[in-house]
Symmetry: C2
Subunit: 313 residues, 2 copies
């Protein structure tokens, strides 16, 4: 089975490494020149709990993947959300009528984009708790353990979903088919949406933000908005359970000392954030459903103001 990973950042590189280590045929696809150049020149350098390994993995720009007639059986989408649609468009010629596509991006609403280009029966929506960091172009750092939940979008594709999960588990990625992937995705989105932008606005890590008097009230206000929107989509979130779950993120012995992705994007790297896919989408859905989502709306506006003032790109 030929696997292509479209979007070879931290997470895509981690997955590529683990799959290839398990003997699978993996090709990376990316548009970020420094990453492509570094991996071609030096291989993918992996920091696996302090142990350094180098693995030779083919990496293509989308147009090269097309020229080389790459014919993957499975494409795993792992771009940043802002790059998702551009990537799917760029690799469209290598998506045949039999190609399966698995989307593991953070955030909500990616299925709407992918299903414009990929038939529903070939598309699988997933959610992963694995994490990884980039220590520079071509250098990936594996962090902790994780899991993957994924689900077919059409009942007749259940068997394929089971096969994909088995394949990923073979490589140690701990994947399972979920009966409620939207719940899993919403739960993660709550955690992300209630803390990521907040840490970015306050320029602090999860522990520091969690220590402020208002942190839990703010988190709960966000979770209520996510839950109100999810309810319209038939997903019944347990607000108290999710609030308790999000609070564990503040633990300094857990991920509390971590600076979330938007912080890294905007504060560390002066790049645009994914706020539209994390908070903005809830504000948009809220508007469409006639539900009040002011915390998501205001936070999205504030992050955009901050991006503009910083001249982020």
């Amino acid at each position: 089975m030929k696997i292509a990973i479209a979007g070879a950042g931290a997470m895509g590189s981690r997955f590529g490494y683990m799959l290839s280590k398990a003997g699978m045929d993996v090709t990376l696809i990316d548009q970020w020149e420094p990453q492509v150049t570094a991996i071609r020149a030096h291989g993918l350098q992996v920091n696996d709990k302090g142990e350094m390994t180098t693995v030779q993995l083919p990496i293509y720009y989308p147009e090269e993947a097309i020229q080389n007639q790459l014919q993957p059986d499975l494409i795993i989408l792992f771009t940043k959300s802002l790059q998702l649609e551009g990537m799917v468009q760029a690799i469209l010629p290598i998506i045949s009528k039999d190609t399966k596509v698995l989307c593991l991006l953070n955030g909500l609403g990616h299925e709407v984009i992918v299903e414009k280009y990929v038939p529903k029966e070939n598309f699988f929506l997933g959610n992963t708790m694995w994490t990884a960091g980039l220590e520079g172009p071509g250098k990936v750092k594996m962090i902790g353990n994780g899991s993957i939940a994924l689900q077919e979008r059409m009942p007749e594709s259940r068997e394929t979903a089971v096969r994909i999960a088995a394949l990923l588990s073979e490589a140690g990625l701990n994947a399972a088919v979920s009966e409620h992937i939207m719940y899993d995705i919403y739960k993660k989105a709550c955690a992300n949406g209630s803390t990521n932008a907040l840490c970015t606005m306050l320029e602090a890590n999860l522990y520091t933000v969690g220590n402020t008097t208002c942190a839990v009230d703010i988190v709960r206000a966000f979770i209520d908005e996510y839950a109100d929107v999810a309810a319209v989509e038939g997903v019944a979130l347990d607000r108290d359970a999710i609030t308790a779950y999000v609070k564990t993120a503040f633990d300094p012995n857990g991920i509390g000392l971590h600076f979330p992705s938007m912080y890294q994007d905007l504060i560390t790297n002066n790049r645009l954030t994914e706020v539209d896919c994390i908070n903005g989408i809830i504000a948009e859905k809220g508007k469409a459903y006639g539900i009040s989502t002011p915390y998501c709306a205001f936070m999205t506006q504030l992050i955009h103001c901050k991006e503009e003032i910083a001249g982020a790109k």
Copy 2:
């Protein structure tokens, strides 16, 4: 007529200077030791459009004002909002049954505090467009021109209100009795509440914030909350007119390059801000009236988070 100014920061000092220059009997009262010490040692140093003047003004701690049996006919309250109640309590013995009290603080809700201690017929609520800055203890900088609107709280006190306005105008302070002081205060509170905390969160001046894509939408969301709350109190704000008025604050040829007071408090001086009296009070009133005020609520929480993380005092 003996005038005491309780709260001799930038604005209190400016008023003290202008009133004494007009030959009035003015005493300052303050609790901030560096200010008291500096004015006693060197007089009040005034930067009046680049021209430096020094004026000798008596300045007391509240307990000294009591010991010296200060008997002012008029007390002008000009503390920071967080210090208002403490100041009124501290000078209570010098407020006789005939003492008139004029409150000129920024923000909303001060009348509720003062009227716990001062009979309504002796209390006058005002609003001023004068500005001033402190260049250090004992050093005040006069900025531009301004005006004062004030109003009695009981109909029988109208004549007194007229006399107070005339007295202030004698000193060039351009005061008039208003027929709708709550409208004036709400209008100023809108301008303040929709931009001051925003500049502080984004750590930018009015011009820079005003240049961002979302600025006007955010401003309008705030103004709508102020207007909804004001409506319950019988004050009908013109939302479009006030939005247009607030937008003029972004003009770099006006006050656009100015960093508002909360910015100066928190970012420049690492002090606690007045957010509770500017945005928090609208969130509180909204709650009491059953009106949705999430922008004010969230902004108040965000500023408190930022204060705590900065260790502001």
